[in-house]
């Protein structure tokens, strides 16, 4: 049960995988969200001033431009560009590490479901969705569009991309940032198995460019729990040197290091005003999205207050 939306029905990723059709998957997830009946907060807000109009009774008092009043002694309401249109850009990490999965759904597939669900949600609002797929390079880029065909494109792009090891995240994020012409709502779906500084450098660049950034980090339950017993040989997916070890002696240090890394990442994201959500591939998708949405709603409120 979600802490935020107790009435939400959960859709198991392995069940959704059986649906086959990604659009159907996305619709199932999103319609499940709509049952909870809440407004999607995935709307951009921007401080980009568009123009004034004369104040009409009923306009929010906070939207009155007081400087203009000081000069003209007349009331005028400010209007912003984000309230008129909205671009959501989804960035999917398709590197080799995302191909790991202890169950039927690996991280990449889970990321695909998430991306499709987010795209469906945004497209339903008649906003636009763009897509980038990257590993060691940006493998594919699709500018924002407002048709449902985007979801099929997600499927196609991920299918043709062969997972290769990546070295850093920052460079790819920098490249993607250059591709985005206007300020967008950026959703990064990646396991973020890289250096935290490197990751934050990329994310900060996006923030600096004025984008709203949401980070969703899907991990595998085995990566979180490390349930191995006995002697194991670990073959690195990102090209690392294999390691043979006694897992009983390894477990505590692994979990400690992982937790430290996650805490560091989380706190740095919060510090940079980046929404950060860590999940695992057995977690129902609607639950994840619900939490992201709720978090976004909370952040939107606080951000407006901060701006004002």
């Amino acid at each position: 049960m979600s802490v935020y939306l107790p009435e939400t029905q959960y859709l198991d990723p392995e069940v959704l995988q059986k649906l086959g059709d990604l659009e159907l998957v996305a619709r199932e997830v999103v319609e499940g969200l709509r049952v909870g009946s809440h407004r999607s907060p995935l709307r951009g807000f921007s401080t980009e001033f568009a123009h004034h109009r004369q104040y009409a009774p009923g306009d929010p008092i906070r939207s009155i431009d007081w400087r203009v009043f000081g000069r003209t002694e007349r009331y005028y309401t400010k209007l912003y560009e984000a309230e008129t249109n909205f671009d959501c850009h989804i960035l999917i990490d398709s590197s080799a590490s995302m191909s790991y999965g202890s169950g039927k759904v690996n991280k990449l597939e889970y990321a695909k479901f998430l991306a499709a669900s987010i795209a469906y949600l945004v497209l339903k609002q008649r906003d636009s969705v763009g897509l980038s797929v990257f590993d060691s390079e940006v493998r594919a880029y699709m500018p924002p569009r407002s048709s449902m065909g985007v979801i099929l494109e997600i499927d196609r792009m991920l299918r043709v991309t062969k997972p290769v090891p990546k070295t850093t995240v920052a460079k790819q994020l920098h490249d993607i940032a250059l591709l985005m012409k206007r300020r967008s709502f950026v959703v990064l779906i990646s396991d973020l198995f890289s250096d935290v500084d490197d990751i934050m450098a990329g994310l900060d660049h996006l923030k600096f460019d004025g984008h709203n950034v949401v980070v969703i980090q899907p991990l595998d339950p085995y990566e979180l729990e490390f349930p191995f017993k006995g002697t194991w040989r670990f073959e690195g997916l990102e090209g690392e040197e294999p390691l043979t070890t006694q897992t009983d002696r390894m477990r505590e240090s692994y979990l400690a290091d992982l937790q430290k890394y996650l805490d560091d990442l989380s706190s740095r994201c919060v510090g940079s005003h980046i929404d950060y959500t860590m999940t695992h591939t057995k977690r129902p998708l609607d639950a994840v999205l619900s939490e992201v949405i709720l978090q976004r709603q909370n952040l939107s409120g606080s951000s407006v207050a901060a701006r004002s």
Binding site: E225, F228, G236, E238, R249, E252, T277
Partner: protein
């Protein structure tokens, strides 16, 4: 090597196999792809070869520890030399001859005392905890300790209770007894010590069965025969019997005591003392008894009182007191009354009376009455006043008379029955010869002719059994003996309980049969008392036989002395009121036995008479006692021991070791005790391996990072 608990070994290996499988699979390396390599502590890297080597070492240590513990619990044992350390262990059976010959010797230096010294030597070489069995051998072997874990004090206590018994040694049953005892034991090595004086009568010519038994015993265990011989000198009173005289108050009976010199040198001036109810009444001196010879003396015993009289004949000054006394009981009567019931024309009665009165004085006395009455007068006679009834050619008796006679005999009366022309076979068979507890010893058949072609009758068979009635006939010259001829007799079908005393020569057809009935006896002649069918009455045979019969019946010779180990019986005339009878032993112990019905009679049976002396048998606790004399077996009095060399020769090839001296015994034990048990060694080694493996594994594990709180399974964390 053998295992004393082999099942535990199999079970232990069975348990070990799954453990081995588990340990084996544990040190196989598994593979997986992995994305989160950056979080794996490469300092904990173990090269696969190192893992294999370490795990292999731990696996070996655990397996070795398990194997050692299983081996320890299965109690490995072996004989012979071995590089493995082990304690010398053995299960020991010590069998001591406790027959009365072992009591031969002076105070504190009897053969049995020597045997106890050997036992001390043997027990001195035993290890506490080893199984030990201690048994006293005799006629009835007694186990003092059975498969006990050796403890010096308990063993000494049990040994102290061991005493010489008055029994003789039943050597034939010893191998079987010892085999059963040794089979019970579990030990790396088993040893049997048979300590005996090695009497010549037992060991000189061992039977094939004994040899086989000893060989089988030696195959199962180390068998040591430990002789404790002694001086062969021994005098014993081997017999005391009534020779002549009727056991009647006021008369004197002649007893004959036989003294034998079992030694190798002649003995002179042997005093034989006769006691009646512990009062010495006669004594005689035997001037000389040669080595291995016997001499007899006549002892005259006056009977002043009626009743059971205890008579003993004793020699003194001997190194084996147990056989110096011989005992007997005489039942003295106030008077003896004989009644002849004559069914003939009168001849039979006259001849019977004459035969019974044929004595030196040739006359009756008030204490010895012999009467003849016609058979039709029989019903008027008071049988309780009669001791012996003779039926001569009586045609028949009624049912009531048959019952009356049966009661008479059961109470202790004697009956003598003669055939004749007037005997009605059918009536006698129906009333006195049928069913259990029938009066006569045989069913009567037809009359047959026993004469030869010349018309002469057949004589008696000179081969006679050892019976009191036959004793005087043995001294009869052959020509006189053969004068008695039998022309006719009745054919008979003897009962299983009857005994043929006299037979016809050639055919072996019984002339005289005997059977016991209750406390009495019945003699049955298959011929006539008068001379119609034989000339017996005209020869010395008739009076001799008749008087012996009367002496036998009146003197209750059939209630003669018993031998130690025999059973003692008390026979009841009718079903007793009390359900138990009582036997008082010579040492004053009271043994109660139940009364049981057996073949139509009521009998109380004491299964074994354990001591020599006079027992008192009582029909109930309150009743007067009937004395029974019990003597030692005179065969055991031959205390001569087989020389050691002969003993060794006789036991050659059987696997038994003869150890004649303490030194030889000690050396034999030392050299043959090669059985070793190493369970302690394996147990300690197994535990040591376990401890070492635990420390080693713990040290290897300690090389990893220190333990911290494990946040493994938590819900995904949000910022």
């Amino acid at each position: 090597m053998t295992f004393l608990n082999p099942l535990l070994l199999i079970a232990g290996l069975g348990i070990g196999l799954p453990i081995l499988a588990h340990l084996f699979t544990r040190f196989q390396v598994q593979h997986t792809d992995w994305a989160a390599m950056q979080f794996l502590n490469r300092n904990v890297r173990v090269r696969s070869r190192q893992i294999k080597l370490r795990d292999l070492l731990l696996l070996i240590l655990r397996c070795v520890a398990l194997l050692l513990l299983v081996l320890a619990l299965s109690r490995p044992a072996w004989t012979g030399d071995s590089w493995l350390p082990g304690e010398r262990r053995a299960g020991v059976v010590i069998a001591i001859d406790s027959s009365f010959s072992m009591g031969h010797g002076g105070e504190g230096s009897t053969r049995f005392d020597e045997a106890l010294k050997r036992v001390e030597l043997i027990s001195g070489k035993m290890v506490p905890g080893d199984p030990v069995t201690l048994v006293l051998l005799g006629d009835d072997h007694r186990v003092l300790l059975r498969n006990m874990a050796y403890d010096r004090e308990r063993f000494a206590e049990a040994l102290q209770s061991g005493k010489v018994s008055p029994e003789s040694l039943d050597l034939g049953s010893v191998p079987k007894e010892l085999a059963e005892l040794v089979t019970d034991m579990e030990a790396p090595q088993k040893e049997i010590y048979l300590i005996t004086d090695g009497q010549s009568r037992d060991w000189k010519q061992p039977s094939a069965q004994l040899r086989e038994g000893l060989a089988a015993l030696a195959a199962e265990a180390e068998l040591f025969v430990v002789p404790v011989p002694g001086d062969p000198t021994n005098l014993a009173v081997t017999d005391l019997e009534l020779v002549s005289g009727v056991l009647r108050k006021g008369t004197t009976a002649r007893y004959r005591a036989t003294v034998r010199n079992f030694g190798v040198a002649p003995v002179s001036n042997i005093m034989v003392q006769c006691r009646v109810d512990d009062a010495q009444i006669d004594s005689k001196v035997i001037p000389l008894i040669g080595a291995g010879a016997s001499e007899t003396v006549s002892l005259f015993v006056p009977f002043h009182n009626a009743g059971a009289t205890r008579i003993t004949a004793e020699v003194t000054g001997d190194m084996l007191p147990a056989d110096n006394v011989r005992r007997t009981v005489a039942v003295v009567r106030d008077k003896v009354s004989l009644l002849c019931v004559d069914g003939s024309s009168g001849d039979a009665g006259r001849l019977v009376v004459a035969a019974l009165l044929a004595r030196a004085d040739g006359a009756q006395s008030e204490d010895y009455v012999v009467r003849a009455v016609p058979w039709l007068s029989f019903p008027a006679e008071k049988l309780e006043e009669v001791d012996v009834i003779v039926f001569a050619d009586v045609p028949e008796i009624t049912e009531e008379q048959a019952a009356q006679l049966t009661r008479f005999v059961r109470k202790g009366g004697g009956l003598v029955w003669f055939a004749g022309d007037g005997v009605k076979v059918g009536a006698w068979n129906e009333r006195a010869s049928s069913g259990e507890g029938a009066l006569l010893p045989a069913r009567i058949g037809r009359v047959v002719d026993t004469s030869d072609a010349l018309g002469a009758g057949k004589p008696l068979d000179p081969e006679m059994p050892d019976h009191h009635v036959c004793l005087p006939l043995l001294s009869l010259p052959e020509d006189l003996f053969n004068e008695t001829r039998f022309l006719r007799q009745i054919e008979v079908e003897p009962r299983a309980s009857s005994f043929s005393v006299l037979q016809l020569a050639g055919s072996g057809a019984p002339i005289l049969l005997e059977q016991s009935l209750g406390r009495g006896h019945v003699f049955m002649f298959t011929t006539t008392a008068e001379t119609a069918w034989n000339n017996m009455a005209l020869t010395p045979v008739f009076p001799m036989v008749m008087q012996q019969i009367v002496t036998y019946l009146a003197g209750r010779k059939f209630e003669g002395p018993r031998t130690v180990g025999d059973s003692l019986t008390l026979t009841y005339v009718e079903q007793p009121d009390a359900s138990d009878a009582v036997f008082d032993t010579p040492t004053g112990e009271t043994i109660t036995v139940p009364v049981r019905e057996h073949q139509g009679q009521y009998v109380a049976l004491l299964e074994t008479a354990p001591e020599a002396g006079f027992y008192e048998a009582r029909v109930s606790v309150q009743a007067a006692g009937i004395p029974i004399a019990v003597n030692v077996d005179p065969r055991e009095s031959d205390v001569a021991c087989l020389p050691e060399s002969e003993l060794r020769a006789n036991l050659e090839g059987l696997g038994a070791k003869v150890t004649a001296s303490d030194e030889e015994l000690a050396a034999a034990i030392e050299s043959t005790r090669t059985g070793r048990s190493a369970w302690r060694f394996f147990m300690i080694a197994g535990l040591a391996f376990l401890i070492f493996e635990s420390l080693f594994a713990d040290r290897l594990l300690r090389r990893g990072p220190s333990r911290q709180d494990n946040p493994a399974t938590r819900e995904p964390q949000n910022a």
